[in-house]
């Protein structure tokens, strides 16, 4: 019999419901990755090249190591979000006579705690006194942060606390790498140092600096910008892995920089929820917004979509003394060891989706909740933290709701 004919309508129904059978597209404000609006088709192509390079997993055959921390950018900055203690970087050094020594001859300032088969991974040398662990931050919206002119940071800084609010805020002056090309608005000090703005200590002057360092220090990948693999001085003074250097052309590094520049800014959620509205007000009232500045503006940029844009990162990109509890005795550039760059709070609510289902906040991931992160604020943020502690439970929750909406 033609019983099978009954299958035709069945098949038809299933085809009609095809779309329902496919996984839904998450809302734009539920994910961190994706390009910003307003990019041209050519720009989108470079973005995609950078995206691919950012996700590329390196192997010993493609240049990984010989010592490394992780095998891809995306392995640490998961979905462009924050990372996990498993991919935490360890940096170390030693204070001698008030001078910080990065112990380069012992494999400092960064520990490469993993190695390709047949090589030996680094371990912390006994000389290291200042040891700091850095959880990978999210990399979204960095193009906007990179396009804020130095004057803005200098205007926000108050190194001597002239306004007597207990919050100073300094820029970190660092020696730029040889390949750094300053733009018209970059400011340098008398010693030829430039203002750093990326990294936990604001030690990288721009995204190229950060990216070249990440390739080399985090994965052992050399590029046209830096031709030497990291060395484990405990076993050899030769940096060789089996792959000829440079392991990556400048063009690939530049496409990754372009990708970072054009990743969209995290989009907030529930902005009209009354609790979120109340939380935002309280956040400003108790001076959180003095460091976590809600609004910044970019200068003129070569990428139209980044030019003169107002955006809401909740950072001032400045260093603040955060008190003894957060002082690891480690530093970079002209930053003090208790000083940390205010991290942007945008995208905070999506952290758990990249950190393995729970959250690890502050520079080393020690805070397991937003509340704990706030309570660990000290130093310049002490007044603000005390004010937070004095709020009612409902008010504190409102602030947390607000931070989760970002």
């Amino acid at each position: 019999m033609k019983k099978w004919l009954t299958l035709i309508p069945l098949l038809g129904i299933s085809l009609l419901s095809c779309e329902k059978l496919l996984p839904p597209t998450p809302a734009d404000n539920e994910v961190l990755d994706g390009p910003m609006d307003g990019l041209s088709p050519t720009q989108l192509q470079i973005f995609l090249e950078g995206d691919e390079a950012f996700a590329e997993i390196f192997s010993p055959q493609t240049g990984l190591g010989p010592i490394f921390v992780a095998t891809s950018c995306a392995g640490c900055h998961v979905g462009d979000g924050k990372g996990h203690p498993f991919t935490t970087l360890t940096r170390f050094g030693n204070y001698t006579n008030g001078q910080f020594d990065h112990l380069l001859h012992l494999g400092g300032g960064q520990l490469q705690n993993r190695a390709i088969p047949g090589y030996t991974a680094e371990t912390l040398p006994p000389e290291a006194t200042g040891i700091s662990r850095f959880t990978p931050p999210a990399v979204t919206g960095l193009g906007l942060l990179a396009a804020v002119p130095d004057e803005t940071l200098l205007a926000l800084a108050d190194p001597d606390d002239v306004n007597e609010d207990g919050i100073s805020g300094r820029v970190n002056y660092v020696h730029p790498p040889s390949f750094f090309i300053p733009s018209v608005w970059h400011h340098s000090d008398a010693q030829g140092r430039y203002i750093g703005r990326f990294g936990k200590k604001a030690a990288a002057v721009d995204l190229l600096h950060q990216t070249v360092n990440a390739y080399k220090q985090d994965m052992g990948i050399t590029s046209d910008f830096d031709l030497q693999d990291p060395i484990n001085y405990a076993v050899t003074s030769h940096p060789t892995d089996p792959v000829a250097d440079p392991e990556l052309p400048a063009a690939t590094v530049q496409s990754v920089v372009f990708y970072l520049r054009t990743l969209k800014a995290p989009a907030p959620r529930d902005q009209h929820d009354p609790e979120v509205v109340q939380g935002r007000q309280l956040f400003m009232d108790i001076q959180c917004g003095k460091c976590h500045i809600p609004t910044m503006k970019t200068g003129i940029s070569d990428i139209e979509a980044l030019s003169e844009i107002e955006f809401h990162p909740y950072t001032d990109l400045l260093l603040h003394d955060m008190g003894a509890a957060l002082d690891d005795g480690y530093t970079e550039g002209s930053a003090g060891s208790a000083e940390w760059r205010t991290p942007p709070l945008w995208g905070l609510g999506l952290s758990a989706n990249a950190q393995g289902g729970s959250i690890f906040l502050l520079h080393d991931g020690r805070a397991r909740s937003i509340e704990e992160a706030v309570l660990l604020h000290g130093g310049e943020a002490e007044k603000s933290r005390n004010a937070f502690q004095q709020l009612s439970v409902q008010e504190r929750n409102a602030i947390i709701q607000f931070l989760e909406s970002l």
Binding site: M1, K3, W4, L7, S14, C18, L21, L22, P23, P24, T25, P26, E56, I57, F58, S59, P60, Q61, T62, A70, T71, S72, G75, V78, G79, H84, P85, F86, T88, N113, R114, A115, I116, P117, G118, Y119, T120, A121, N353, A354, Q355, G356, G357, S358
Partner: protein, 397 residues
């Protein structure tokens, strides 16, 4: 390997064609024609046979709402060459063309030399007896378009290797026991030196294994199985050996590291339903320096159920069979907990595949599959969801 397999293919083809040219004995220049299968052929005894299969399909998949759209895939075109010159000497070769000529591989080229049914000698490029799928991977045998993930990403099917060994069948009433065991060159450094950021056996299939072992110490594979007539078969198999290049030019350059795979497979008929599947456990010695992304323990399973729901005549074809099929798959590429947090290491996946197949003959079928797959990353973040539809055909020829 590619050029070698092409060369082999042409050599065989030319000789095959050569068989039709008039015989000219003696002269050294004609040595290429002085071959037993040609003599036999000229006597009218065709000793060699050619066969093969072809599989092609369409794909429409979407991952978390992003789709690459609709595409067609020419998966495989495989050619078999079989020959038996004397009753108990058999030769079989399989040449695989994957995605057109993107990947050409000599999957099998082996000689069987039977002393007794319970004792046969086998040598050449053999399909490693690890689980069920590896030796039984021809698409026309399967109702599903994609191969089982446990069979291709833990057991690295299709895994063939140069080997020497023994096999045989021992009947006992309605039961029969089979065994196979081979010495092989084994998997190589790619198990860790790969771009998957995980312990990954398929990346250990270095083409050089057909020429020489990377560490001079062979691996061993064995499978024993019990079959009951009319019911089905269960098999246990294992594979193990050193996989890394620990010696170069006689110098010891690394520690020796072993990999083991244990597999269980079954294949039953219960009434009209057919059930089959396999499970694998992989144990790999991993240097701790490479980090916990590379797991020491991995496991996976797939379980298929196939049920005929209709049979009859269709478009003038007799005895066409419509089957409903369902597959479940689970794999954990990294069993363990993070040193840093004490939390579970992720890197696992689940998949289900409901589908239908329409078999026009036992050797030719159309397949429709729907596939839903949940991939959890190393850190255990919310799973990436991929789903889609596939339509395919496969046939022996």
């Amino acid at each position: 390997m590619k050029p070698i397999s092409i060369l082999l293919f042409w050599t065989i083809l030319i000789q095959y064609l050569g068989a039709q040219t008039p015989d000219s004995l003696g002269a050294n220049k004609d040595a290429v024609y002085q071959r037993p299968f040609i003599f036999e052929g000229q006597k009218g005894n065709l000793t060699a046979a050619v066969g093969g299969y072809l599989e092609a399909n369409t794909n429409y998949f979407s991952t978390d709402g992003v789709s690459e759209g609709f595409s067609m895939e020419m998966r495989r075109f495989n050619i078999f060459l079989y020959s038996t010159l004397k009753e108990r000497i058999k030769f079989i070769a399989e040449l695989e063309f994957e995605h057109g000529t993107e990947e050409i591989a000599l999957e099998t080229a082996m000689l069987d030399f039977e002393l007794a049914p319970a004792l046969a000698f086998r040598a050449g490029i053999v399909l490693v007896p690890l689980g069920y799928f590896n030796q039984n991977h021809d698409s026309p045998k399967w109702e599903f378009i994609d191969r089982p993930l446990v069979s291709t990403t833990l057991i690295p099917a299709t895994y063939s290797d140069v080997g020497f060994g023994l096999h045989g069948t021992i009947p006992l009433n309605s039961l029969s026991f089979t065994y196979e065991t081979y010495l092989l060159n084994g998997l190589q450094d790619g198990i860790l030196a790969n771009t998957s950021n995980r312990t990954f056996l398929p990346a250990g299939k270095n083409e050089e294994r057909f020429g020489e072992d990377n560490n001079g110490s062979p691996s061993l594979a064995a499978r024993i199985a019990m079959k009951k007539r009319g019911l089905g078969e269960v098999g246990f198999s294992c594979f193990g050996g050193y996989y890394n290049t620990f010696k170069k030019d006689g110098l010891r350059v690394d520690e020796k590291r072993k990999v083991f795979v244990f597999a269980f497979d079954y294949n039953f008929s219960f009434g009209k339903a057919k059930m089959l599947g396999e499970a694998a456990l992989v144990k790999t010695e991993v240097p701790s320096a490479i980090g916990q992304a590379f797991g020491q323990t991995q496991w996976g399973i797939h379980a298929d159920v196939i049920y005929p729901i209709w049979s009859g005549g269709l478009f003038g074809w007799e005895n066409v069979k419509l089957n409903a099929a369902f597959r479940f798959e689970a794999i954990d590429y990294n069993v363990g907990i993070f040193d840093e947090t004490g939390g579970n290491i992720g890197d696992h996946l689940l998949a289900i595949v409901p589908g239908f197949s329409l078999r026009f003959s036992p050797n030719t079928l159309l397949k429709v599959n729907y596939r839903y797959r949940w991939d959890t990353d190393l850190l255990g973040n919310p799973a990436v969801k991929t789903a889609g539809f596939q339509f395919g055909m496969a046939s022996y020829f």
